[in-house]
C-alpha cells in the first residue's frame, strides 16, 4: 500500500499522457502545492520520456504496474476509455487512490466493480466530471432545489463545437477504445450536469448518426423520474448554443455548460439577470478571474485522500451518466439527417 508522504505533499502519478494530460492535468498538478508528480506513465515511450524531461518528473514509465515499486499515493487515470475500469481497479487494489477521467467506465458493470474495489480497499475513487466544479452549475442546482423556478416544466441542453482537439492518431475515434463518439465524450458532461441538477431519468429516446463507427451528432429526448421532459443535443460537427435552459412555472435559467455564465429570467419580470457565478468572497461589482475547475477538481481529490472523506464526485455519481449512456447506445435509433433523402441505412449490419 502506498504511504502518504507529507514532506512534498502527496506523490501523484499521471497514467496516460494524451492531450488532456499534457494540456490540463499536468499543468494543474505542477501548480498544486499539495502534491508532486512522482511519475508519468504512457505506453508511448518517446512521448512519456519527453514529457517527463520537460517537466522534470523523476519516473517515466511505460507500464502502470511499475508504479507498484514506487511510493505513489494517488494516480490520475487519463487513458483511453476502455482502460478506465481495469487500470483503476488494479491501482485501487494496490492502495493507490484514483481520480479517473470521465466517462468513469464504459458500462455500469465496470462502474460497480470499481466502486466495490474502492470500498473494499478503503481507497478514494473520484471521477473527473470537472464541470461539477463550475460555480454556475452549483448555483443552478441550489436554485432548482430551493424551488426558485417553481414547478419545473422542461429542459433544453445544446452543446456543439466543431471538433478541434489535437489528435495524434485515430485511436480516439475507435469504438473499441473510446466506447462511442460524441455522446460518451462530450455528452457525458452534459448528461451528468442534467442528472445532477434535475435528478435521474426514467425513460429516453436516443438517436445518432453512427453508421458502424462512432457518432458525431446525437440527440436524446429524456423524461426524468420527476416527470420533467427535455432534450440534450450534442455535436462534434456544429457550433451550437452551448448552454442549458431550464424552464419552470416561475421562470427560466440559462446556464453556460462550460463556464460560469448564467442568466435568470423570472415570469412577469421584464428584464433578466445575467452574469457570472463567483465565489461568495468576490467583492460586489467586480469580475472574477475564470475559475480553473481542473485545479479545484485536483484539490478536492487530494483533500479527500488526506482527510479520508468522500470526494465531490465519488464513483456512484460517475456511474449515473454511464448508466444512461450505456442504455442510449443499446437502444439507439438513426438520427434523421435532413438533407439526405430518406433515412440512410448501412449496407450490411450495424456493428
Amino acid at each position: 500500500m502506498g504511504t502518504i508522504s507529507e514532506k512534498h505533499g502527496l506523490a501523484v502519478a499521471l497514467v496516460g499522457c494524451g492531450a488532456v494530460s499534457e494540456h490540463c492535468h499536468l499543468p494543474a498538478l505542477l501548480k498544486n502545492q499539495g502534491c508532486h508528480v512522482a511519475a508519468l506513465v504512457d505506453s508511448n515511450r518517446s512521448r512519456v520520456e519527453q514529457l517527463a524531461a520537460r517537466y522534470r518528473v523523476n519516473h517515466a514509465l511505460t507500464h502502470y504496474q511499475d508504479l507498484y515499486d514506487l511510493r505513489v499515493d494517488a494516480a490520475i487515470v487519463a487513458l483511453p476509455n476502455n482502460l478506465h475500469a481495469p487500470v483503476t481497479i488494479d491501482l485501487l487494489r494496490r492502495g493507490i487512490h484514483v481520480l479517473v477521467e470521465k466517462p468513469m467506465a464504459l458500462t455500469v458493470m465496470e462502474c460497480d466493480a470499481m466502486i466495490k474495489t474502492a470500498a473494499e480497499t478503503a481507497t478514494t475513487l473520484a471521477v473527473g466530471l470537472t464541470r461539477r466544479f463550475y460555480r454556475a452549475g452549483q448555483v443552478v442546482r441550489s436554485l432548482v432545489q430551493k424551488g426558485v423556478l417553481g414547478q419545473l416544466l422542461s429542459f433544453d441542453f445544446r452543446e456543439g463545437r466543431v471538433f478541434d482537439w489535437p489528435l495524434a492518431s485515430d485511436f480516439f475515434f475507435r469504438k473499441e477504445a473510446a466506447g462511442g463518439g460524441v455522446l460518451i465524450d462530450t455528452g457525458v458532461h452534459a448528461l451528468d450536469q442534467l442528472l445532477w441538477w434535475l435528478g435521474d431519468a426514467s425513460s429516453f429516446e436516443y438517436c445518432d448518426d453512427n453508421f458502424g463507427g462512432v457518432e458525431a451528432d446525437c440527440v436524446v429526448h429524456i423524461k426524468l423520474k420527476s416527470g420533467v421532459q427535455g432534450i440534450v443535443e450534442v455535436s462534434r460537427t456544429r457550433n451550437l448554443r452551448n448552454t442549458a435552459i431550464i424552464r419552470g412555472e416561475r421562470g427560466e435559467l440559462e446556464v453556460a455548460l462550460t463556464n460560469d455564465r448564467i442568466a435568470l429570467r423570472l415570469e412577469g419580470v421584464p428584464a433578466q439577470v445575467m452574469g457570472q457565478a463567483t465565489s461568495r468572497q468576490q467583492p460586489f461589482g467586480t469580475e472574477q478571474a475564470r475559475m480553473d475547475p481542473i485545479m479545484a477538481e485536483h484539490e478536492d481529490f487530494l483533500e479527500s485522500v488526506r482527510e479520508r472523506r468522500a470526494p465531490v464526485v465519488p464513483g456512484f455519481e460517475g456511474r449515473r451518466s454511464v448508466a444512461l449512456i450505456e442504455a442510449c447506445y443499446r437502444d439507439r435509433k438513426p438520427l434523421s439527417i435532413p438533407w439526405m433523402d430518406g433515412t440512410p441505412t448501412l449496407v450490411g449490419e450495424i456493428v
Binding site: 456543439g160 478541434d164 485515430d170 457518432e215 460537427t237
Partner: protein
C-alpha cells in the same frame, strides 16, 4: 466493375466532396473504404463509418504508398488550400505524382482524379466543352490543377495507368466550403455586389451529382483516359443562385453594381489602406459623432475649418468624413448598412460573373452515363436544410 466489397482509397475524405463520397461509397455502394487523413482533428464525420483511416500526408510518398496498397480504386479528391502557392504546388502536384506512382505499383484498377472546370480559364461566353482552349492560368489553383491533370494523363499515356478525370463546375451543397458556407458567411455579414444585373451564367452543380459522377468514373467501362465536365443540366444566372442562398439564410445582401463601379471598388480595395480610415469610421458612428463634435478641441477645429474653407470645400470635407453628400448626420440604420463590409469578387470571380459560359455535359451524359438529378430548386432545398441544421441559417 461494381464497387461492392472493393477496397477503395479516398484522398480529401475530410473535405466536402470526399466526405460525401465516403458516405455514398459505404451506404450505397457497399465498398470497403480507406481514407488518407492528414489531420485526425477533422475526421469526426469519417469516424461515423466502419472504415480504415491511415494517418499521413499526400506530400509523403511512403504514406501514400501505404494508403494505396491493396486498393482496387483510388479517388483523388484532396486539394490543400491552406498553404501558400508553394505549399499548394507541393501537396497538389507532388502528391498527385506519388499517388499515380503508387497506383501503378499496386495495379489499381481505376484512379478517379477530381479536377475543376476552372482549368479552362479564362473562359469566354458560349459553350464550354472538354475541347475548349486553355489560356494563361489566372491563379496558382488553376495552374496546380492543370499540372496535376497533365501528370495523371501522362501516367495513363506512358505507363497505362487507368485514369478518369472529373471536372466539376461550382460545387454547392452541404459542407461545400466555398460555394455554400463561404458565400453564406459573406451574405450574413456584408454586402455582395453582383454585376451585369446578375445575369452572367452560373454553372453550379449540387454536390451529390458530382459524387455520383465520381462513382460512375470508377465503375463505367470504356472511359479510361477520358476527361468529363460535370455540371447541372443547365446553367442558371448568378442572380438566381445568390437569391436562392439569400432565401435560405433569410437575408437580402446582394446589390447590383455597374461593372465600372465594381472595378473601381476592386481597384480601391487593392490600394494601400488609409491609416485614418478606421478613425473616421469610428467617428461616424451616431453615438460617437455628437460626443466628438461637442468636445471643445473638436469644436474649435471645426469652427476654424468652417471659417477658412469655401462652402464647396467645406461640404466636400464633410461628405468625405461622413461618407454622404447629404449634410445631415447619418441615421443608425444607414451607418449600419455602410459599416457592413463589401465582399468584392477577386479577378477570377469577376470574370465568372461577366461571362455567359454554358458548360456542356454532353460528353458525360453520353460516355459516362451521367444524369444530373438536382436542379437549383432541389439542390438549394437540401442545402437550406443543411444550413439550418448546421446553425448557419
Amino acid at each position: 466493375m461494381m464497387l461492392e466489397g472493393k477496397l477503395v482509397l479516398v484522398t480529401g475524405g475530410t473535405g466536402a466532396i470526399g466526405g460525401r463520397l465516403v458516405e455514398k461509397l459505404v451506404l450505397e455502394q457497399g465498398a470497403r473504404v480507406r481514407v488518407l487523413v492528414r489531420n485526425f482533428m477533422h475526421a469526426s464525420r469519417l469516424a461515423r463509418f466502419p472504415l480504415e483511416m491511415i494517418g499521413g500526408d499526400l506530400a509523403d510518398p511512403a504514406a501514400v504508398n501505404k494508403a494505396v496498397q491493396g486498393c482496387d480504386v483510388v479517388f483523388h479528391c484532396a486539394y490543400d488550400f491552406s498553404g501558400n502557392a508553394v505549399l499548394q504546388r507541393k501537396s497538389g502536384i507532388d502528391g498527385t505524382r506519388y499517388l499515380c506512382e503508387a497506383a501503378l505499383l499496386n495495379n489499381v484498377a481505376r484512379l478517379v482524379h477530381v479536377s475543376t472546370f476552372a482549368v479552362y480559364s479564362p473562359m469566354s461566353s458560349g459553350v464550354l466543352t472538354e475541347e475548349s482552349r486553355r489560356g494563361k492560368a489566372p491563379n496558382s489553383y488553376v495552374s496546380v490543377k492543370r499540372e496535376s491533370e497533365r501528370l495523371v494523363l501522362s501516367h495513363h499515356g506512358k505507363k497505362g495507368l487507368p485514369v478518369v478525370i472529373i471536372q466539376p463546375t461550382l460545387v454547392y451543397g452541404p459542407r461545400s466550403s466555398h460555394w455554400t458556407l463561404g458565400l453564406a458567411q459573406q451574405l450574413k455579414t456584408g454586402v455582395v455586389p453582383l454585376v451585369d444585373g446578375g445575369n452572367g451564367f452560373c454553372n453550379a452543380v449540387y454536390i451529390d451529382d458530382v459524387v455520383d459522377s465520381l462513382i460512375l468514373g470508377a465503375i463505367r467501362p470504356d472511359v479510361i483516359g477520358e476527361t468529363f465536365l460535370i455540371s447541372a443540366a443547365e446553367p442558371i444566372t448568378w442572380k438566381a443562385f445568390y437569391e436562392a442562398l439569400e432565401a435560405a439564410l433569410h437575408v437580402k445582401s446582394t446589390v447590383i453594381m455597374p461593372e465600372d463601379r465594381l472595378r473601381e471598388e476592386v481597384a480601391k480595395s487593392q490600394r494601400k489602406p488609409n491609416p485614418v480610415a478606421p478613425l473616421l469610421q469610428a467617428a461616424r458612428h451616431p453615438e460617437v459623432y455628437p460626443q466628438l463634435v461637442s468636445l471643445p478641441v473638436a469644436r474649435h477645429l471645426l469652427q476654424a475649418l468652417r471659417r477658412g474653407l469655401s462652402d464647396e470645400r467645406w461640404n466636400a470635407l464633410k461628405a468625405s468624413v461622413l461618407m454622404t453628400e447629404d449634410t445631415a448626420v447619418l441615421t443608425a440604420a444607414e451607418v449600419e448598412a455602410k459599416a457592413k463590409p463589401l465582399h468584392l469578387p477577386d479577378k477570377s470571380l469577376l470574370a465568372l460573373y461577366l461571362t455567359k459560359t454554358h458548360v456542356s455535359i454532353s460528353k458525360a451524359r453520353e460516355r459516362l452515363g451521367y444524369q444530373p438529378k438536382f436542379d437549383l430548386e432541389r439542390g438549394m432545398d437540401l442545402t437550406t436544410r443543411f444550413l439550418r441544421w448546421a446553425n448557419v441559417a
